[in-house]
Amino acid sequence: MYNGFIFVNDLNKKEPSFILATDVGSTTTKARFFGKVDGEWRFLSSGEAPTTVEKPVEDVTMGIRNAVREVEELTGHQIIDYSSRELKFIMPYQGGKKGIDVYVSTSSAGGGLQMLVEGVVKTITAESAQRAALGAGAIVMDVLSVDDGRDTYEKINTLRFLRPDIVLLAGGVDGGTKTHVLEMAEILAMAKPRPRFEIEFRLPVVYAGNKDAREDVKKILEENFDVRITENLRPTIEMERVEPARDTILQLFMEHVMAHAPGYEKLKKLVSTSIMPTPAGEGMMVRRFSELKGVNSIGVGLGGATTNVYSCFDGRFLRTVSANLGMSYSVGNVLKEAGVENAKKWVPFAVSAEEIMSIVYNKMIRPTTIPMTLEDLVIEHALARESIKMAFNHHKYLARELKGLKRERTISDIFEEVKAEETYIDLFRLDYIIGTGGLLSRAPRRNQSMMILTDAFQPVGFTALVQDSVFMMPHLGVLSTIHPEIALEIFEKECLIYLGTVIAGSGRDKVGAEMAKITVEYGDGKKENLTLQFGKIIRLEVPHETEVRVTVSPSRNFNFGAGFGRTVSRAVRGGVVGLVFDGRGRPIYVPEDEKERCRMLLDWYMSMNLYPKEKIEEWRSKL
């Protein structure tokens, strides 16, 4: 059980009949309705409406009401108690098509949880503190440390203009020197950053550093801040304990942050358990999935404002939220960070930089609009690949072994050492990639989600790809805190869509050169022999129910998991898209010449059945 959300009440004792879950997103409020039908838990219906944190409504419960009303219209099941002016649900279930037993919600409205992190050494305590903040589902606005390259004046200047919800201060091992962490506390005290909401509200500071410095930190900060002391997240150099800090952050999120968002006081009274930040709910399902199956997995929540990446590798769970990488509010930033050329790389027709900029920036200022033409859709998909790619790089940066282990050293020794260390995420050992978020869940063809995820993560070896059917992972995450068995049942049966398995090799060769000989053996004895050429994709339609044995004998330039030139054989399953033999090498080879690039992209898109055939032919004819 996730510590931050233990919630004990009678709900655990009686199994419910109908459950309503909402996610109050930055753009849209999504309601999901679940019920027990013929002894099995089912996803029954969904409703969506714009989130109402803005004028003229300024009350999130209005958006929830609109979304739930859509569910009522579609199912004929009455959920809202219309005798009340304020939003109220008919609880418990009244029999027939009336009422619900449980209502849960996640939220990322109002910009989610925004945090400022302070540590002593950038790659030791500041990094651990960042992991704790991200673990709580926060957006980290800035990370300050003694050695971050900014002088005191710059640090103070930065702090004065930030408006965080919570500050996390860490630094020093227990019993070690106090000076540096007190210096960071002092900088914070002097700068007096103000909270996002309300002038008079005292900004909460979670202190999770050297326990010997607790009293001094309190003395320095308590005049202007609401100081909460929690266990040191780095009690020794060899140990990282982020859970107590993370739980304190989540508690503060409920007490303060949510309390200041419009309408949340009302929402808090409606829910059956604590409201959870959306990334916390999403991540919880990725973690449960990995633990249940005993696999290594990576999840991505591609949202409108942020891209969240989750990994569960050898039992280690990590969550990162990349602020300003997203498909609506932040799409301009994705283009800015990736560059027009990188985005264009995935577009198989002639398009000018100006046209791409016009589409992207107009989407940024009108974030709720959706593509109407296939060209527009292709450009959005190109940006989606880049957004995930950058968010994954951010994630890998934090998915590293603890720094500063084993030998005594000075602070400066430690700085130099980290650069050489790499992420513990080994793509050859990755079993699953899980995709969620509006763009992926709503992609007109599942093949498109599979291709976006493949191009963004560039998995190697054998990797199964799974996707959230209608975006319900956050909902199930929060539900799992009170009804884990129901949440998992729905997750397995209704939420997960098995897209298929990608089989890819790392390496490079000439386009058209033989990359690998492949044999696919079916259960009925049928055998299929394939030759994969460099620069090509082969897709076989194999459903998830069918297990096949795939044997890959690569040429000496390629590694499919057993080493360069070594044969590898695995039992795999397909999915709604099937088995994809990806012969594009790693990193994916994309020709520089524009015409050649477009031709190759069109071949891939045709093999993947990515867009309507006629449209692909039309683009090809224009080259």
Partner: protein
Amino acid sequence: MKASKESFAYTPGLRITPYTYIRRVRSLPLKGEILVNKGEHVNFDTVVARCCIEGMPHIVKVAELLNIDTEETMRYLLKKKGDPVRRGEVIARYRALFGLINKTVVAEVDGFVENINEITGHVTIREPSKFLELTAYIKGTVDEVIPNEAAVIGTYGAFIQGIIGFAGENFGELRIAVSNPQEVLEASMITESDAGKIVVGGSLVTYEALEKASKVKVKGIVVGGAKMEDLEKILKTRIGVAITGRENLDYTLILTEGFGKLPMSEAAFKILKENEGRVAAVNGATQVRAGVLRPEIIIPFEKGKHREEKEELGEGKMKVGSIVRIIRFPYFGAVGKVVELPIELHRIETESPVRVVKVELADGRVVTVPRANVEIIAE
């Protein structure tokens, strides 16, 4: 196909109205003093409130600079907490070996000693406080005073919201530089006599015109669209998210439609044209996030000359007969009338099943577009 008479518009239309009552809350960032009373008349630049902003703190690492133990800091300090200090003044001195070793620490700024930390051996010097003054921003009457926090200014006037703006508040006389909303605002259309004015263009403002505006010292430009690459050149930065208002631009720039060449909406252009010569307040601050904020043009009128009407904001209800504007390619900017609101999901070219609206365009064509891609101009 079943159809409904009314639906929720996902994109609330930008507000464009020739006459309404406008209120602006002028809030201090910290508690302070409100300088006006309820009922008082104020001009655009009347200072209505002020507060004291603490000066910048400077942490002086005294122990480190004198090479002494932190706990010895107090011994060598020449100042105590609360003492004023001048730039260049010695605040700590360490002498040893009969004066052979003589180290001093001097203050780098004027201010006062705010804190002495004996654990770290640091002394904090805080620069003197500064007053932050807040103007009325619009010409009108003080409707309400929230003691120590805010003054609410109200006025009757015309009100136009843009889609994105750059730089903050300004005011100046309106001057229409183009003859119609399609016309491009060129550099030659901005003259020396536009100094201090708000210049209105049509579908696009050229890079040269943006530069000329700076040279001539105009107070604002209001136009349908601008090219992103021109904006990035003029702002000397790349735009990532639509959170603006603090750009280092000499004037306020407001785009009413978006990026690229996009004719200004007829409604907005008509209001601006009718009010040429009046003084308007403009604010480019935009926040396309939760708590959405759009740039605005407010043209205050004298009270009593117009019919009474209070500003009202609807929930964005779309009906058959509503006038809408399409806000995404391939019909970007086209205005039309809602003729049908089908209930069933419709598969559009992208193959996405979405809720759609059928819109009759000015040329008689009826197009089917996602409901998410229209904004209501009028009911």
